[in-house]
């Protein structure tokens, strides 16, 4: 029996070797993501984008490798349990054990930072997606790139521009204690001061806050023109619920992360109308690439993409696909292609300067009649900013 199996295996191998030139092996592309743990709710937006991309590329006959051949994509995915230490281990495994051809990025800033040294050590280029921090500029360029246009210092400048254009003279700032919120606040405070915008309430709250009523009562009493909630998805939801209950009447209301996720608008219907959030992409302009992505995503997953995370993930694979089409799978050529190329993406042209996206301007979205529109910067608007009018 053993002999028979051995013979069978040998003949299968021989057959495979013979067949190889006709049907090349798949391009193996690996990544880790938070399927469980603290960040698990955020991950599907990114996983969906990756899966949609692989499906579309395979339907087109495969990934174009330097114009020489096309090979189908096989995605290899692991769960990092929201733990950056696990991500480090997984990317080491992907590179040294699974011997993947390409890597996609994990979810979140800490995970991107954690695996940067692994990429550097193995000289393996990877395009980042859902990460943002001013600290990314300290990273050594060469094997990691960040697509984000939402770095905190640029966000502060853009926010002041948006506030001034909306005639906001005073604000309340509510800040989640997680790093991204704090980083935003650090740059926002001096920018507001320089612009003469008064901060009437300044409150920090813990990441797992369960009740915001006390803070919001204070906000209501202060009657600011604007509320800036440097929030994450969980507390963004809490804010809408409580602000509606308390009756916050500010004409400008901003929530950092959350409203761009598909379920958010469905959850609140009209009450979320007028809320401004972070983002620089909308399918409601006239960009054909964006419309195609939006339609395909909605068709496949029966929900809207996350205007932030799905979009960043999609942009990262658009860039990867174009770079691989030019350079093939050779790491040095690929690195060169990504570093020097200009790429067509759903957020427009993207080019990297060091590790950073050098082109895409920082932007903001607003929910208007259940749709998310780009309201800033003005030259990218799909709709002008409208004041928030009550909580229908």
């Amino acid at each position: 029996m053993k002999k028979f199996v051995g013979a069978l295996a040998a003949s299968a191998l021989a057959a495979a070797a013979w067949a190889a030139p006709v049907q090349a092996a798949e391009v193996r592309i690996g990544y880790s993501i938070a399927k469980t743990g603290l960040f698990a709710p955020a991950a599907p937006s990114q996983i969906n984008a990756y899966n949609l991309w692989a499906e579309q590329v395979n339907a087109r006959g495969g990934l174009d490798l330097g114009g020489k051949e096309k090979r189908k994509i096989e995605l290899i995915q692991y769960d990092d349990q929201s733990n950056p230490g696990n991500a480090v281990k997984i990317y080491e495994k992907l590179i040294t054990q699974d011997k993947v051809d390409l890597l996609l990025s994990p979810w979140g800033t800490p995970h991107h930072f954690a695996i940067a040294s692994v990429l550097e050590r193995h000289k393996f280029p990877m395009i980042g997606s859902t990460a943002s921090s001013v600290q990314l500029r300290n990273m050594k360029p060469g094997n990691i790139w960040f697509t984000t246009a939402a770095v905190a210092d640029k966000l502060a400048t853009a926010m002041v521009g948006l506030l001034q254009s909306a005639g906001v003279k005073s604000v309340a700032i509510l800040t989640n204690q997680l790093p991204f919120g704090q980083e935003n606040k650090k740059f926002l405070m001096p920018a507001l001061k320089a612009a003469g915008i008064e901060v009437l309430v300044d409150a920090d709250y813990p990441p797992n806050i369960k009740d915001m009523t006390a803070i919001l009562v204070k906000v209501k009493a202060a009657k600011p023109d604007g509320v800036i909630g440097l929030a994450y998805p969980g507390d963004s939801i809490l804010y809408i619920n409580k602000a509606r209950e308390v009756g916050i009447a500010a004409k400008f209301q901003y929530l950092l992360v959350g409203p761009a996720i598909g379920f958010f608008r469905g959850m609140f219907k009209g009450a979320a109308d007028g809320i401004v959030t972070l983002g620089h992409w909308s399918p409601h302009g006239d960009d054909a690439r964006s419309k195609a992505f939006y339609a395909a995503y909605k068709k496949k997953f029966k929900q809207e993409p996350d205007y932030l995370d799905s979009v960043e993930a999609w942009v990262s694979v658009e860039i990867l696909e174009q770079a691989v089409a030019k350079a093939g799978l050779d790491k040095d050529k690929l690195r060169q292609a990504i570093s020097t190329g200009t790429f067509d993406t759903i957020i427009g042209k993207v080019r990297f300067d060091g590790v950073q996206n050098a082109v895409t301007p920082t932007g903001f979205l607003q929910i208007q009649k259940g749709e998310l529109h780009v309201v800033w910067p003005k030259d990218r608007q799909t709709a002008p900013l409208a004041p928030k009018t009550g909580w229908k």
Binding site: T36, G37, L38, Q77, Y78, D79, N83, P84, G85, V88, K89, E92, K93, I95, T96, Q97, T109, P110, F113, A114, A116, S117, V118, R121, H122, S133, Q135, N138, M139, K140, Q177, L178, P179, F180, Q182, E183, K186, D204, P206, P207
Partner: protein
């Protein structure tokens, strides 16, 4: 001095053998797995000193690792890396000495809750300090390579194993066992319970401080919510339960079992491994309540009986 018994030599040799073999496989991945394994062994051994020997079940041991990691990032650039890790260990020990007196006054479930609360409290204090300083996660660039971290962590695992073995042999260990069985009686016969408990608490904190510093070096990024993640505390207790003995074997078996199992599962069944792992753990608690060590002792009843005596 008594000769080393199998239950003392087995865990030591096991850790040393694994440490020697893994680098031969010549892959960063195996070094990474070894790093994690040794980290857990060091944590679980440290935990055993206060929770296994003295019976004070700590559900907040992550606090020491978090402090170690925090001290490392605070001293980053100011002192050499190794000194930062050692300072982290010392700071964790000092913290244990400071909070030990009030904390160790309560027993049983109250101690469990108190240690858990203390770790959460420390987490939020650090979060607030960082925010007041205007820091939002600290990036550490240019830390030591994975080989260096691997050997440092292997040394920590050996040190932890040795610490449990030695503690059990000396007066302190006997005193802690007396405290565990009946603290009042121990005090009556002249065991300096307060001093012993405090010493055990501090001892059990030093190594986690070091391990926490290495954890931060491994990811190159410090964020309080992750450095003080309560899941780390829970995992330590889980490993101790699975290991199933209050000598130095338990933590080694428990960590080895859980790390190897979860490693095999996630790399082979990435989509469902959590479900399989959960089912296996439930089965384990149901059918092998005395853990891996209990299973081994049952195989060799003579050894188990002698050890129990």
């Amino acid at each position: 001095m008594r000769f080393a018994t199998p239950r003392e030599t087995v865990p030591l040799l096991l850790v040393a053998a694994i440490a020697a073999i893994l680098p031969l496989l010549g892959s960063d991945y195996y070094l990474g797995v070894g790093f994690a394994l040794f980290g857990w062994i060091a944590l679980a051994q440290s935990w055993t000193i206060v929770s296994g020997l003295a019976g004070y079940i700590s559900l907040g041991h992550v606090v020491f690792a978090g402090i170690g990691g925090y001290v490392l990032v605070l001293t980053w650039g100011a002192v050499p890396v190794w000194a930062g890790a050692v300072l982290g260990a010392l700071a964790a020990g000092l913290f244990a000495l400071l909070v030990g007196l009030p904390v160790l006054r309560v027993r049983g479930p109250y101690f469990v809750i108190l240690t858990f609360g203390l770790a959460e409290f420390a987490k939020y204090v650090v979060i607030n300090i960082e925010n007041a300083l205007g820091r939002f996660g600290r990036l550490i660039l240019g830390g030591p390579p994975v080989e260096t971290l691997y050997w440092a962590m292997a040394a920590a695992a050996l040190a932890g194993t040795l610490a449990v073995i030695v503690t059990r042999r000396v007066r302190l260990g006997a005193g802690l066992a007396a405290v565990r069985e009946d603290e009042l009686a121990a005090e009556t016969i002249g065991v300096p319970t307060v001093r012993f408990k405090l010493l055990a608490f501090a001892l059990s904190a030093v190594l986690p401080g070091f391990v926490g510093a290495l954890f931060v070096l491994r990811t190159g990024y410090f964020e309080p919510a992750q450095a003080f993640d309560p899941v780390i505390s829970f995992t330590i207790v889980t490993m101790a339960i699975i290991g199933g003995s209050e000598d130095a074997r338990g933590p080694v078996f428990g960590a080895l079992f859980l790390v190897v199992l979860s490693e095999l599962l996630w790399s082979n069944f990435p989509q469902v491994y959590m479900i399989i792992l959960g089912a296996l753990l439930i089965g384990f608690v149901l059918f092998a309540p005395n853990g891996v060590a209990g299973l081994l002792d049952r195989r060799r009843p003579s050894g188990g009986a002698r050890a129990a005596a």
